[in-house]
């Protein structure tokens, strides 16, 4: 798998192309160009169609909404009058994803470094394989595991956090229920996005030019210094794109969140209190019984998630583009 990064080692100089002159193209070339251009255009058309569809249905919903769509703490599109807002969902989605990223990224980078630079070869490939396997587990299984195993076992840790970090407000626990909260969801999401991030960063670390590492070693660097001086700078944009891939999954995760979280439309800044919700979870929970207008309202929330994902991806691309000149590839 090639990592989606623009810092791959510079390509070897191309051999002189025999038939690329003037208009003398062969039919095979033309067909291939047409096909690949068609695929590119098709992708854009699909994206545009999704955006148009979401916007149209969302417009229908939002124009009848009696509450502020962006700030209301409520979801009742089928009520009289219809009132719904995405504040809780946006908060829950962002917070659970941040927790997941904070846990998963350092661990994933650690695993990737271990597999690519520390582990003996005999151990490295089975380990990489096991990580791949983690990615193949369906999310409903993660959800069941989270609800049946993780939640009961987190009770102790939550009381510990409450006792020692309760003064931070966010770790204060004001309800005695089981740990079906955003914090647990964050931990579960971290496990789920771990393989994605690990795999991509591992591939990037393996791409580090041998010459860079050997140069560092020749200067008397220890293994850690080699990693710090040549591997991490080279892989930085790869780590970022890997994290964004993971973030994309965390933002959109549905079944696992719906199984573990105890959703409510009551705002709470306490991470350990049950409640909150995410966009995808809310859509999954409300879709079955929604009438047509209710579905429009859910689609409106989907549009917000769509825009959020676009912004996140755009931001990631900008970071990667800006870092390009510093990365090891051009050194």
């Amino acid at each position: 798998m090639n990592p989606p990064t623009s810092t791959a080692p510079p390509p070897a100089p191309l051999p002189p192309q025999p038939a690329a002159k003037g208009g003398a193209t062969r039919p095979g070339d033309r067909i291939f160009v047409g096909l690949s251009r068609g695929s590119g255009v098709l992708l854009l058309v699909i994206m545009a169609a999704i955006a148009v569809f979401l916007t149209y249905r969302a417009y229908i919903a939002i124009s009848d909404n009696q509450a502020n769509f962006l700030t209301a703490f409520e979801w009742n599109p089928q009520g009289q009058p219809p009132q719904f807002g995405i504040a809780i969902l946006a908060y829950g989605t962002v917070v659970s994803s941040i927790i997941a990223m904070a846990i998963a990224v350092p661990i994933a980078v650690g695993i990737a470094l271990f597999v690519s630079h520390y582990a003996p070869r005999r151990m490295a490939s089975p380990l990489a394989y096991v990580i791949d396997l983690l990615a193949a587990v369906p999310s409903i299984v993660y959800g069941l595991w989270g609800a049946l195993v993780l939640v009961p076992y987190l009770d102790g840790m939550n009381s510990w956090l409450d006792q020692y970090l309760g003064w931070t407000y966010i770790f204060e626990k004001t309800s005695s229920g089981p740990a079906r909260n955003l914090f647990t969801v964050g931990i579960l999401l971290a496990v789920m996005i771990l393989p994605v991030i690990t795999n991509v960063t591992r591939e990037v670390f393996l791409q580090v030019p041998r010459a860079h590492e050997e140069a560092a070693l020749a200067l008397g660097a220890t293994r850690w210094e080699v990693i710090r001086m040549s591997v991490l700078p080279f892989g930085r944009s790869g780590i970022i794109s890997a994290s964004m891939l993971g973030l994309g999954r965390a933002l959109g995760e549905t079944m696992a969140v719906a199984t573990v979280l105890s959703p409510s439309f009551l705002f709470s800044g306490h991470l350990l209190d049950p409640g909150g919700g995410t966009f995808a979870q809310n859509i999954a929970a409300k879709f079955n019984e929604a009438n047509e207008y209710g579905r429009d309202a859910l689609i409106a929330s989907g549009l917000v998630l769509f825009v959020m994902t676009l912004i996140v991806n755009g931001a990631a691309r900008m970071i990667i583009a800006r870092r390009k000149e510093y990365s090891g590839a051009n050194a």
């Binding site: 979801w75 009742n76 089928q78 009520g79 009289q80 394989y129 396997l133 193949a136 587990v137 369906p138 409903i140 299984v141 069941l144 609800a147 049946l148 009961p152 005695s176 229920g177 089981p178 079906r180 719906a258 199984t259 979280l261 105890s262 959703p263 409510s264 439309f265 009551l266 049950p274 999954a284 929970a285 409300k286 879709f287 079955n288 019984e289 929604a290 009438n291 047509e292 209710g294």
Partner: protein, 376 residues
Amino acid sequence: MKLQRRNARGLRAVTLGAAAVSTALLLTACGSDDNTQQGGADTTKAAGNIKCGGEGKLLASGSSAQKNAMDLWIKNYMAACPDVQINYNPIGSGGGITQFNQGTTAFAGSDSALKEDEVEASKKICKDGQGINLPLVGGPVAVSYNLSGVDDLVLDAPTLAKIFDSKIKKWDDPAIKKLNPDAELPSTDIQAFHRSDESGTTQNLGKYLGAAAEKDWSYVAEKSWPAKGGQSASGSSGVAAQVKQVEGAIGYFELSYATSNDLNSVKLDTGAAEPVEATSENASKAIAAAKVVGEGDDLALELDYTTKADGAYPIILVTYEIACDKGNKAETLEAMKSFLTYAAGEDGQKILSDEGYAPVPDEIAQKVREVIPTLS
């Protein structure tokens, strides 16, 4: 050589992957809310006098609350009439009505009667007619709890309303003590669980609380849970699993989930001589107090949630089958009429209580039986 090694590795990957997938399937199967096992062996006997009609495929979709009843009816019906293939897809009432009004299904199942705009929409599909509601399945909604050492908890509507509205927070609250003088109530926190998804079960509990505890339950009965606070879980199976797992929990779901999870259910103090238990029989008694409010062939019911009749359990759910009175699709009409005749008939109704549902009382079932042959 190299190629060979890669192949061996690929094969191993496939085997391991297959193992993982089958484990996953196994796990999901355990987690599903399929309670059809309880019916027992004797239910197939009821298939005796089914009058077959029509042939081909009969598609229907809607309420998941009546899924088990539908499964049972379909199994019996198709055993007797192999020419007809019935497919009921439990996608939820809202989805069922939408599909019916788009003309993709022959009939829909719904937890609540059609609303005015839905009736209007149905006129496009039903030529010269409109969608009508036929009550076919009733059922008690059990309120179950998990409190070690307490077996026969009695609650009344106002107390229940306060518990679900987070106004009563401890199990040894004076209001609960007063209703249960003999029970040893611990001072644990009450964890009130509700459905996080939209559901007719939630709506019916809301209607009951709104009618029987007006002062303490000011919310409008909607399919989504109206009160703030409390805990929630997805689906009846999710709520039941939480109540089973969490000490001090209380939650509501169809009776079959309480029996299959071995949970104690609350007896309701309705003002009748004795507190009423959630059973199929007691639910039927409460449905008997319902009035038909639909016009003409429409048999939409208005349930009496405040009934004080002896042994009538008032938290009930009635699900309807929705079809056109005139203008049903010609190719499925005969099959649908024949299937609904069986379902509404004595044989069809009798087997409902095995699944934790309640038969529709005779008087109403009789009206349904009169309407079905007139569908066209």
